[in-house]
């Protein structure tokens, strides 16, 4: 019945993590470390670190990692499906509502107010990423030993190619990765 428990735990994490990303962390910790003791605190810290280095939502990463550890490949699939399921159900309903009522003036007004706010939210995620890229200790302190000048140059070069020449961003990110791999392992 371990599979059912895996599914149910990640279903709950999916259902109650509103606001994305780091909002899910305390829920994951409670279900995985405290309630079911599938991971130790140290393993939990490791999976968070890995999540920051690898692509994809933190909860999907956690679901795959815990699932693999508890029940192999099948466990990983079950935990991941469990996490995604609440999204599938809720988004299906919300999309139907959106499709039907987006032309209504009240919903139109609400969306008109939300659009600029969402741009602000994305901007704050962007600034956080710029800061953690430019400053080695992650805080805005303009000391030469704390500033990553190579990252600043890479940022500027990437921004210029995307902005001016409309190069595929995935290509640009990959090139930045190669440049980083060479530069940081040499210096």
């Amino acid at each position: 019945m371990i599979f059912l428990q895996l599914f149910w735990s990640f279903f709950q994490i999916g259902l109650f993590s509103i606001g994305g990303g780091y909002a899910a962390l305390p829920l994951i910790k409670e279900q995985i470390v405290e309630l079911n003791q599938w991971l130790t605190q140290a393993e939990y810290n490791d999976i968070i670190t890995i999540s920051q280095m690898t692509p994809g939502p933190i909860s999907i990463n956690a679901a795959t990692f815990v699932g693999t550890k508890i029940g192999g490949a099948l466990g990983a699939v079950i935990a991941t499906v469990g996490f995604v399921m609440p999204s599938v159900i809720i988004i299906s309903i919300l999309y139907a509502v959106y499709k039907r009522y987006r032309k209504l003036s009240a919903l139109g007004s609400v969306l008109a107010g939300l659009r600029p706010a969402v741009v602000g939210l994305i901007a704050s995620a962007g600034v956080a990423m710029v800061i953690s890229s430019f400053f080695k200790d992650g805080t805005v302190a303009f000391r030469t030993d704390n500033m990553d000048f190579f990252a600043i140059i890479v940022f500027a070069a990437c921004f210029y190619t995307i902005w001016k020449h409309k190069v595929n961003p995935i290509l640009v990110i990959s090139a930045a990765g190669v440049a980083g791999g060479v530069f940081y392992s040499v210096f």
């Binding site: 139109g108 939300l114 994305i122």
Partner: protein, 201 residues
């Protein structure tokens, strides 16, 4: 045939589904640093390059994805799938989005500690982070321009945008609160917005 923004038609044949799958897979594989990165890449691909979505839909999907439970990237990709090709579309996009992190973590779960301290790997990650930061910057500028395009509402929109940014970045306000506040502001201040003119351009 499927109707797009009142003018464009797109054939939903086998090649379309393959393209949808590959696009989402690719996007997801490069989503370092949270759901908003996915949204930025998605906008570049589906709004700017392919023209399958318009800017307003992208922002609406972001709002819905952010205010629903679950991961923002998964929610956005589901909305995209539903919008482009109904239920089969949603199945394809969610599968394509889950697959890259799933495969990577599955592989890493057998020997991750070695990679964590590998200098080349860390260098690649730092380089990519700078690239991702550049993409997100470009997308924010594009989105801000599109939101401010409507002159009559530009001032209020600008205030909401800067307010949301400052609330979250400087005062660590919960994004859900910001969204609730913006929804109410929209309802009160954008009364005349009918939403219908969106489709006409």
């Amino acid at each position: 045939m499927f109707k797009f923004s009142g003018e464009k038609f797109l054939k939903r044949d086998f090649r379309f589904y393959i393209k949808l799958f590959i696009s989402c897979f690719e996007l997801s594989a490069f989503t370092f640093g949270g759901g908003y990165v996915m949204i930025s890449l998605m906008r570049k691909k589906f709004v700017e390059k392919l023209g399958w979505l318009n800017e307003e839909e992208m922002l609406d999907f972001t709002v819905i994805a952010q205010s629903s439970p679950g991961a923002i990237a998964i929610n956005t990709t589901l909305l995209l799938g539903f919008r482009l090709a109904g239920i089969p579309g949603a199945i394809i996009t969610v599968f394509a989005t889950v697959l890259p992190p799933f495969l990577i973590i599955y592989a890493l779960s057998f020997g991750y500690s070695a990679l964590q301290y590998n200098a080349v790997f860390q260098g690649v990650m730092r380089g990519m982070q700078a690239g991702v930061a550049a993409v997100i910057t470009d997308v924010v500028i594009g989105m801000a321009k599109s939101v401010l395009k409507n002159r009559a509402k530009a001032v209020i929109s600008l205030v909401l945008m800067i307010g949301a940014f400052a609330a979250v970045s400087l005062f660590s306000v919960n994004p859900m609160l910001v969204i609730a506040f913006a929804a109410v502001s929209g309802l009160l201040l954008f009364r005349d917005e009918s939403g219908e003119k969106e489709d006409r351009k």
